[in-house]
């Protein structure tokens, strides 16, 4: 790790080769040490990856660099100069631009208006707009980022919206770009384009920090990579000299199995039949536009697709949360789609377990303790009742402790509130609750979103084990790797339709990516 000369405080004649140097950064939130004595040096004109499990402290570190938090200790050097960053305005002045995971764009403003927002030159917008139009034109040509300056944000695709965020930063003359999990919402094609843009920026001398948990992206796009684990920096290596396996081991602190081990599926009788399923959202817009498929016992059907193309509505209709039309048959019995009978209780009674996409919003009551959450949805189960009046809280706690032991939930404290567990352990609580009901059909959405690598390995094994026990599984994920390694059949959704199906043995990411973008195939 290249540190500058010890007298780094004084301006030296030779400019520092590093765009950013962080020295001894520490930050605690109450008893939690989010960053502990972090040292990192990012050479100018490189793409620098930062990886780490959830809660490793990546976001905290970047928030300190961007002025959202103040470090308890440590110094920030920009281009070799000590630069305190008490707020994000200072960060922008120091030439740092940030592209957030969730874009901060005004949906009903044009691209141009969004770019100048907060960087207007005066009370009259005309001059600023004209200037921005000129600069934007130059930037677009320079970096292959063609975006119509007069388009409304809400009319742009996610990939284009992200470009607007990058343009916003460049317009503010950022030399250092931080991108937080930039590919989470992109199709593989869009992600490739993003990396081409980032390479272009690098060639122009910009410095880019890429925060991600996807090892593949780190390997493809970065020059150097820093690995964080539990608030500390465990190492910085040249990407060319590392491998996904070695990085994963650095992240988790032990050897990790990246490939899912499974035998070929032996599908049995049809468990679930879905015919022409349609769902409208609260505004009356049709989100699921006539979907039909079936799943057999002992097989995993993976639903791929960019987020927001009807996968959530499919899960909600099957799980009894959303009203729907069409037909759902479980083991030959029709399930109600509308009315009071269509609810989560009747679905569970029919034999459907549901691990929802958004565990914090749907799957758990964050203020409830773990044992209260283990009863969630199954609170009517006779085994949790002491008598006609009272629930058997003792039995429930014992049951929870047993499940926590089997699913390796840490810490194994049944009385701890759900919000005090890490994302991976929260997910294990939900997975334990749903899988242990021994369902005929498991709906599982984004099983490993925001879950650390160690827990991903565990959850994937559990899914395969449930399949091998002869259960039908509907897997919805935006992670193509996950879909491809777990599924026995793949269906790709786009705009509320199933665009096409594929065999994971013979297909590849490019073919799936085209389907995900709605390019190939015909909507059925």
């Amino acid at each position: 790790m290249g540190a500058t000369a010890n007298g780094g405080r004084q301006e030296t004649a030779a400019p520092s080769p590093y765009a950013i140097e962080l020295k001894g950064i520490s930050k605690a939130f109450g008893p939690v040490q989010a960053n502990k004595d972090i040292n990192i040096a990012v050479p100018r004109g490189t793409i620098h990856g930062i990886i780490g499990e959830n809660g490793a402290g990546k976001s905290t570190l970047m928030s300190i660099l961007y002025g959202f938090y103040r470090a308890d200790a440590g110094e920030i050097y920009i281009n070799g100069k000590l630069t305190p960053i008490p707020d994000s305005q200072s960060a922008i002045r120091a030439g740092i631009g940030m592209v957030f995971q969730h874009f901060k764009l005004v949906q009903n403003f044009t691209v141009l208006e969004n770019v100048i927002l907060g960087a207007e030159d005066g009370p009259m917008l005309n001059t600023s707009l004209a200037k921005a139009r000129k600069v934007l034109g130059e930037l677009s040509r320079e970096y292959e980022m063609d975006v119509d300056p007069d388009a409304l944000i809400e009319d742009l695709s996610v990939g284009h919206q992200q470009r607007v965020e990058i343009l916003k930063a460049l317009y503010r003359q950022a030399d250092i770009l931080i991108l937080d999990e930039p590919t989470g919402v992109l199709t593989p094609d869009e992600a490739d384009h993003l990396f081409r843009i980032l390479n272009g920026l690098k060639e122009q001398g910009k410095t880019i920090i890429l925060i991600t948990h996807k090892l593949r992206e780190i390997m493809e796009a970065t020059d150097n990579v820093s690995v964080m684990r539990r608030g500390t920096m465990v190492g910085t290596v040249k990407t060319a000299e590392s491998s996904p396996e070695s990085l994963a081991e650095l992240m988790v602190g032990r050897k990790v199995l990246l490939e899912v081990e499974k035998v070929k599926a032996t599908p049995g009788a049809v468990v679930l039949t879905v015919e022409n399923l349609r769902v409208k959202d609260d505004d009356g817009v049709e989100r699921l536009k006539g979907v039909s498929f079936e799943i057999r016992a002992g097989e995993i059907l993976g639903i791929a697709g960019v987020a927001g193309n009807g996968q959530s509505e499919l899960l909600e209709a099957l799980g009894g949360i959303a009203r729907a039309t069409g037909r759902i048959t479980l083991k030959g019995v029709d399930l109600p789609l509308v009315g009071l009978a269509a609810n989560g209780q009747t679905r569970r009674e029919a034999g459907i377990a549901h691990v929802p996409e958004d565990r914090q919003h749907l799957g758990l009551i964050m203020d409830f303790s773990a044992w209260e959450n283990v009863a969630f949805g199954y609170h009517n189960d006779p085994k949790y009742q002491k008598n006609a009046l009272f629930m058997d809280n003792d039995a429930l706690r014992a049951d929870t402790e047993a499940k926590m032991a089997r699913y390796d939930v840490r810490p194994p404290i049944a009385t701890l509130a759900a919000k005090n567990f890490s994302g991976g352990n929260q997910q294990k609580i939900v997975v334990a609750r749903e899988m242990e009901q021994n369902p005929d059909l498991l709906l599982i959405g984004q099983p490993t979103r925001g879950v650390d690598i160690g827990a991903i390995e565990f959850i994937h094994k559990q899914i395969i084990a449930l399949r091998d026990a002869g259960k039908a599984i509907l897997l919805v994920s935006v992670e193509l790797d996950e879909i491809m390694s777990l599924s026995d059949r793949i269906a790709v959704m786009f705009d509320g339709h199933i665009m096409g199906t594929a065999d994971p043995e013979t297909t590849n990411e490019r073919a799936l990516g085209l389907l995900m973008a709605g390019v190939a195939g015909d909507p059925k």
Binding site: G320, N343, F368
Partner: protein, 381 residues
């Protein structure tokens, strides 16, 4: 958010809030040229120094327990029931109709019937806003507030045009029959001694007719129903399936839908229980004390219940303690007005300060404590 140890959150935060309120109240007293210590002495003496004082303090406490419990049951379902006042008034109507219906042979029978009527009437008054919230999405805060006004108007109509005995001048119902008279606390066998000892010479003070003077303390047997209600509400919320569903629904409506909890059903049931509890307050004031239905019978206890629930941390035990505090403030404040030149409005100022500090500024105190605690931790490291 940084966390406090649980004991600090439950004990220290309300205690410090209370001390701050007392401090500001003392400053106000100093500013108007009165001695805070003397005033506190008079309040304590007025609330706890005599049989009469205890009688009133516990009487107010009883009412506040019911309205406080009413607020927390709704609150655990994520519903803010501000209609306790109106529901308590309707409860009073139920009590009056039942008490006046029969020449009750014994108070226990009358109490049973009146409690049921009070709960049913209170629940019925809460049912309409609950239905509008559950089915139409009309905000329960708005509708319950409006229903307080409708309740007032309805009671006036009932008193003036229906319940008022012929020839009576004031808008009030007839006096309840003797058989519906609830025993005062000072008449209960095991409490008689306690109330008797409160008099300076240790003997019951008698009127000329030879009746003990304390026999007309307003606190009555309803207190025991209120205490039982605390236990029942605790069991309901934390031991039953219904309570589990109420709390889950209150924490997250979206997640409850995922779990298959019926939002309409839970909203209705929680509000019916909440309204029923508020209505049950009427057995304390209407049946136990006034012994007839008057206008504005709830006297603001429905609103005090919100402060009691806030201060009581939405827990029945907290409600019990907070109700006792507010009972003390009510009765002690009345003693201030009676025995000093301090204006009676001072009692409202003190109550206001307590509500302000324990309810509204509670987060400020908590942040202060979090800061102090982190300081302690750093020093330890």
């Amino acid at each position: 958010m940084r966390k406090l140890p649980q004991w600090a959150d439950v004990v220290l935060v309300p205690l410090i809030s209370l001390l701050l309120a007392a401090l500001v109240a003392a400053l106000v007293l100093l500013a108007i040229g009165q001695s805070p210590t003397a005033a506190l002495g008079i309040m304590v003496e007025g609330a706890f120094g005599s049989a009469n004082g205890w009688g009133y303090t516990l009487y107010y406490t009883t009412s506040f327990i019911f309205t406080g419990l009413s607020v927390i049951v709704a609150f655990h379902a994520g519903l803010f029931n501000i209609g306790g006042e109106g529901q308590a008034q309707l409860g009073g109507l139920g009590v009056a109709l039942v008490c006046l219906a029969l020449p009750w042979p014994h108070w226990t029978l009358a109490l049973l019937a009146a409690t049921l009527a009070a709960a049913v009437f209170g629940a019925a008054w809460a049912a309409i806003p609950a239905y509008l919230q559950a089915k139409r999405g009309s905000h329960i805060v708005i509708t319950t507030i409006m229903f307080n006004y409708i309740a007032s108007a309805l009671i006036v109509y009932m008193l003036v045009d229906v319940l008022r005995p012929a020839g009576q001048m004031d808008p009030a119902s007839a006096r309840f029959p003797v058989g519906a008279k609830l025993p005062a606390l000072s008449d209960m066998p095991f409490l008689r001694e306690f109330f008797a000892r409160l008099n300076p010479d240790g003997t019951p003070r008698l009127t000329k007719a030879g009746v003990a003077m304390y026999s007309n303390v307003p606190a009555n047997v309803t207190l025991f129903i209120a205490l039982a209600a605390c236990v029942v509400v605790w069991l309901l919320l934390w031991r039953t399936r219904l309570g589990y569903q109420i709390r889950a629904f209150g924490k997250s409506e979206a997640a409850s839908k995922y779990a298959g909890i019926n939002p309409v059903k839970i909203t209705m049931i929680a509000m019916l229980i909440s309204g029923g509890l508020a209505g049950m307050m009427a057995i304390n004031n209407v049946m136990g004390s006034a012994e007839r239905l008057l206008q504005n019978s709830a006297e603001g206890a429905g609103f005090i219940g919100i402060a009691v629930a806030l201060m009581g941390r939405n827990h029945p035990l907290g409600v019990l303690l907070a109700a006792l505090l507010f009972g003390f403030l009510y009765q002690g404040g009345a003693a201030l007005g009676l025995n000093t030149t301090i204006p009676i409005e001072m009692r409202i100022v003190v109550q206001g300060l307590v509500i302000l500090f324990t309810g509204a500024l509670d987060q400020m105190v908590r942040m202060l404590l979090v800061w102090l605690f982190s300081f302690g931790r750093k020093a330890a490291v």
